[in-house]
């Protein structure tokens, strides 16, 4: 139950402060140790996986597996654990698709994780994080950006944001939802998925299949 979880989180935070200085609830662990590496993960997935449209789904599966595994025991090295999970998942998917052809072998080779991706993480300074956050914010569409500003920075309730902007409350709620999704994509994921999606859309329009050639 969520209220219990929340309660746990609060107690966890309290224990954390006194004992280790870190809130150790599973949810917080996940945000702190896994989500922060989404940018590197997305880069890895985009390089290794042949179907761009599946990457969102793949990322979800990776998170689910990591979260469920961590519920039993927290991995000692979260970042490399996540990349290992990613590789296993992709291999599984290829097997399920029964791909053993030459193309697939190429794909499997690409599954090798580069050393720099699992190297000990370099934490961002608070200032660098703010910078990334600002960039994410600046990439929001106009209306969405305005809603996020009024709601988050000026801390106006949604109702007042609606009044101020002369739009419906439902619209504000929708823009808040959109803002969250985009900020998550840009701030955690570095916006890779968006870029590639637009590129894919452009490719589809021209129907030229650039970069999709393959040797005999």
């Amino acid at each position: 139950m969520w209220p219990h979880r929340r309660h746990d989180a609060v107690i966890g935070a309290w224990i954390g402060v006194t004992v280790r200085g870190v809130d150790d609830s599973l949810d917080n662990w996940f945000i702190r140790e896994i989500l922060v590496h989404e940018r590197a993960l997305m880069r890895y997935l985009l390089r290794s996986w042949y179907r761009r449209d599946e990457i969102h789904d793949l990322r979800q599966d990776i998170y689910v597996r990591v979260y469920e595994a961590a519920a039993k025991a927290r991995p000692a090295m979260p970042k490399s654990f996540m990349f290992t999970t990613a590789r296993h998942l992709m291999t599984d998917r290829l097997r399920r698709a029964r791909v053993v052809s030459i193309d697939a072998v190429g794909d499997l080779d690409a599954l090798n994780v580069l050393i720099d991706e699992v190297s000990p993480e370099r934490r961002l300074s608070a200032r660098q994080e703010l910078k990334q956050l600002t960039e994410a914010f600046d990439r929001l569409p106009d209306r969405c950006r305005e809603v996020v500003w009024l709601r988050r920075v000026e801390e106006l309730p949604q109702k007042e944001v609606a009044l101020r902007m002369g739009i419906g409350e439902k619209t504000v709620e929708k823009q808040v939802a959109k803002g969250m999704r985009l900020i998550a994509e840009y701030f955690y994921g570095g916006g890779h998925a968006h870029r590639s999606r637009e590129r894919a859309a452009a490719d589809a329009e021209h129907g030229d299949g650039h970069g999709q050639q393959q040797a005999d």
Partner: protein
């Protein structure tokens, strides 16, 4: 099961409602139930919730900005980080400056100079926004459609006579062009769009629907796509798949004795021939692949094609068959564009240009060497 994007949409809807004023204990219970349903729900929720909480730190930017005024993009007056420290920050977490990060950096500096000079926003940015909005619309539309057809299973079969050509529009927006003397069975269900190619050839223009793969099966093989254009042709001994857009996965059932047979990824421009011996893929340009599909506009194009194959091509479309009377002429090479409905003209041209003589029968035209 809902797709990851659907889950993300639902999670963001929950969070934005909770962010509003009228959040009740009952709402909380419903949200709890939803989170309990699956870990996928929980991780999507956690991710968005964390991002939203992060955005709280934007308050740091609000200092000195008058209430109600949303600052322009890039107008943050944050001193750029010294060059030596800039690299790790640009590349995010792993140190290697990535191309996107560099692009972002370039974009940012242009954005700030723009803000300083008050130039109008650049069109690419606007375009990007429309592209995103358009994509969202497409996703929503396909979601809506998927929902309406939640449990429905539609089944219909189509066939063409020799010389017939038929466009079959499907309710999902896909269009199938059925070639001469062909037969398909279309089954649309919640999880899959399944077309059983029972005979002949068809061209598939597939509407994007990530949640429902588009599967064309022919005997023990399947050509699978999400949003793409491709052609599948079934002959007695082999299956031909031509891809003109997107990627198609060609799968096979296990061979005799449960032996596993590989599946193959076919990018645009591929011409794959699958027979008992395996799959041969010829990868060329999309234009080359398109040439094989000129039947859709009533033509057959040949490039250095053995006469025997060309005759077989004509025979797909005509009741009156061209028969190679002497094995020696079957290997003559022919080229050019021909209307498939006009085999007689083709034969006449052969007689003019090759040592070939045609004997016209009632149901057949026999070609002999002169």
């Amino acid at each position: 099961m809902a797709s990851s994007r659907q889950i993300e949409l639902i999670a963001s809807a929950w969070l934005s409602r909770r962010d509003g004023a009228e959040w009740t204990a009952h709402d909380q219970l419903q949200l709890d139930a939803w989170l309990q349903e699956s870990t996928a729900h929980r991780v999507a929720y956690l991710r968005l919730d964390a991002a939203w909480r992060q955005s709280d730190r934007l308050k740091a930017l609000g200092a000195g900005v008058p209430a109600g005024a949303v600052p322009e993009r890039g107008a943050w007056g944050m001193a750029p980080l010294p060059e030596s420290r800039a690299t790790p920050s640009e590349s995010g977490i792993d140190g290697e400056p990535s191309a996107p990060a560099r692009v972002a950096a370039a974009h940012r500096s242009s954005a700030s100079s723009r803000a300083a000079r008050k130039l109008p926003k650049s069109p690419p940015r606007r375009l990007l926004r429309y592209a995103t909005a358009g994509f969202a619309l497409v996703v929503l539309a396909s979601l809506a459609w998927g929902w309406r057809h939640y449990a429905a299973v539609d089944q219909a079969s189509y066939r063409t006579a020799i010389g017939g050509l038929q466009d079959v529009p499907l309710p999902d927006g896909s269009v199938i062009t059925l070639s001469s003397d062909s037969r398909i069975l279309v089954t649309l269900s919640r999880n899959e769009r399944h077309i059983d190619l029972q005979q002949g050839e068809a061209f598939f223009k597939v509407a994007k629907d990530p949640g429902r793969p588009f599967v064309v099966s022919a005997g023990d093989r399947r050509a699978i796509a999400v949003g793409t254009r491709y052609d599948v042709r079934r002959d007695a001994a082999e299956l031909r798949v031509i891809v003109t857009q997107g990627v198609v996965r060609l799968e096979s059932d296990n061979g005799p004795g449960g032996r596993r047979r590989p599946s193959t990824l076919l990018p645009a421009g591929s011409i794959a021939l699958a027979s008992d011996a395996g799959v041969v893929v010829n990868s060329g340009s999309v234009q080359q692949a398109e040439e094989f599909l000129s039947w859709r506009s009533g033509f057959l194009s040949f490039h250095d094609t053995p006469l025997a194959s060309a005759a077989a091509e004509f025979n797909r479309y005509n009741a009156r068959k061209i028969v190679i009377g002497d094995a020696s002429i079957g290997s003559l090479r022919v080229g050019g564009n021909f209307r498939w409905s006009n085999a007689e003209t083709f034969v006449r041209l052969l007689e003019l240009g090759f040592p070939v003589r045609a004997v016209h029968g009632k149901d057949v035209i026999v070609l002999k060497s002169r």
